[in-house]
Amino acid sequence: MPIYSESFTAAFHLLASSDNDLMEILALSINVSLASLALSCLIGLPLGAILAIRQFPMRDFLVGVFNAMMGLPPVVVGLLVYLHLSRSGPFGWLGLLYTPEAMVIAQMILITPIIVALSCQVLEDLHEDYKDFFDSLVVPRRTALLAYIIDARYSLLTVILAGFGRAVSEVGAVIIVGGNIDHLTRVMTTAIALETSKGELALALALGFILLAISLAVNFLVQWLKASAKRRAYV
């Protein structure tokens, strides 16, 4: 199909010429994704660690809830955040609607359950391995939590990657709360949606290829890190 060669060429030219619009959109995509990822990890990693280690009555139920929340439809989250951030909504006074911050908030809601559920799984396995040793040493809980996160760093990297993948490929939430405004809230995915709606299919596909390349690059990097970690039995 000729559209493939058209798109590849377009993608190549866009990148080679460091097209300004493209660079701006790419930068915003990465910034929004990384910011929401960082915040999700800040909340999600300790939460996943606590769920992995502590035994309390609601624990299994909470783990189930977070697992279920991994399947939150982005467009629903986008709608809910929109309703809350709208001027006529409870947090309208913050003036966050149609800003990159709103996009970060929406994506944070989508990614945090992934971080919690997957890191809990990873750390549960580690806890099984380490708990007698830590028990014997009388390691205080906070030290243990930190030690778990450090020792599971490579597996957690995979978890973080899953979060990144969700963030960078998401469009349903960010387009509602961000408004896909030129030079303000337009990211790769919303730009692809826009170009598609304009019928500029080759350009949309070109942007898609660039986004894909980024995703693949990040994935390969993590795989390489994990392989070197495996060689040292750090995984």
Partner: protein, 244 residues
Amino acid sequence: MSKQTVAKHSRVMPIKVQNITLTLNDRTLIDDLSCTITSGGISIIMGPNGAGKSLFMRCLHGLAIPDNGAILYADEPLSPAIRKLQSLVFQTPTILRRTVLANLLFVARQRGIDDPEISREYLRQLRLDHLLHHPARLLSGGEKQRLALARALITKPAILFLDEATSNLDPASIETIETNLQKVSKQGTKIILVTHDIGQAKRLADDVLFLHHGKLAEHSAAGSFFENPKSAAAKAYLAGKLVL
């Protein structure tokens, strides 16, 4: 023994085990066991497989809780403070996903020992100084146990438990470990060791607790135990027979 060691000891020794029983899934694994373990020397816990040796040791260290009875340390029940004066080397050690040195530093910092030179010295004693920055989980079985022993020793415990710690190790590692145990015992650390290696028991034991079917069949001085075991089970065991 230094004043410090004596002080430590008096907070955890002697260990008085009073009629402890532990049942799991309707099976009685420890059956009304009582004994007194005094400071000084190396006490060896022996018995056929399934006798409850490891479980007994886990009870002594507080990793398993008996259903009945009590275990007192210098007439006090187990507390985190008392547990901190004990160290246990497991049969399969838990090796952290870090370097050899980092493994030891982790434990050292738990006990407030911040000088890395001290950690390096312990690793030297156990012939691991050439592997400081090696990923610890890639070590051989013998090297791992020597690391585990270094971790146990750096906390300067009053009681050192070892649970089948040298099973399946190469003779050189066993020798290094036993030498260190004897040295440490002379410096005043109480050593309580579970083993099924009769030769090792003969090399190290000052007194022997012989378990059979979760009961304490015999508790005697090493010499008299090996020459003249009182219980039929111990006799059969030492003779190399299968003890059912």
